[in-house]
Subunit: 156 residues, 2 copies
Amino acid sequence: MSQPASQRSTGAESFFDDAVEQLRAAGLRVTPQRRAILELFDHRHTHMTPQGIFEALQQQVSSLSLATVYNSLEVFEEIGVLNRVCAKDGQAYFDPNTQPHQHAVCQRCGEIFDIQIPSSKLDGLVQSLCPAAVTNGDFEIDSVDIWLKGLCSNCQ
Amino acid sequence: MSQPASQRSTGAESFFDDAVEQLRAAGLRVTPQRRAILELFDHRHTHMTPQGIFEALQQQVSSLSLATVYNSLEVFEEIGVLNRVCAKDGQAYFDPNTQPHQHAVCQRCGEIFDIQIPSSKLDGLVQSLCPAAVTNGDFEIDSVDIWLKGLCSNCQ
DNA sequence: TTCGTTGCAAATTGTTTGCACCCGC
DNA sequence: GCGGGTGCAAACAATTTGCAACGAA
């Protein structure tokens, strides 16, 4: 199958290049720290916590501050380079996949996986939930967040 | 419509009575503090945070400790009297509805509403998601967590 | 009377903030 | 050089824990 292009409106090649471009477009600076965080997401294309990012980087980036990691992640979220994902463990995970998608969490290892649900299927779901779905009268549904819970292939 | 019975295997009358019965059945003590928390859930049948419960009760229950609230909630969760619900705001909410159900969150006021989705419909959804839904090969789906995001009737 | 529970305060954990110094543009 | 960014340490917020006193069974 053809790999889905993950670029945004800018049309850059990779996640990293695209992110740098969006930083510049927003008038923000491309610092070594931000570069390092983006490169990390470019290599491991997974969901990571601020703490995890910090630990992964403090070896290579001398004197990196956890506060800077938080700061950068917030910036990345604001310009749409990363998505903040709040898992049930109370921690914030950041996701380089900014396309609409859903998640599956392994109940044993805690790893978060992306799920691509065709928007048509999702729309159908929302439609089927709409009528009298919410107990308290009419609730105007804006979006749907689906979390599958179970076991990943490694933990089964 | 007939109101759905919310009792568990014990067959008690109200949420409060049922909860007390389950406490005793588990060999745990029914203290004034635990009673107060259960009564609060019995009156306001909604989702509450530990802090919110504490604030609601410290007026009537002299010298109630926040630690006790946390402690009691953990006990209630363990014996199946309450469900812990982790919302996106990072806070833990506790839900007296222990039947399988889904949630809708108002993006403005933050209130959490229960949604009753027929299990047949939910099964259908899982079925439709199962085949090749998860990017990383086979993921063994155990349960599904659905969060509708939007505006409640009050905030529209 | 006994042992589960409570209250308090201190410890943890995740995240934010204030501020002087630094460096990308 | 300017002004945004960084690092550090302190501040916060949510939650947990240690321990002596307490009280439900």
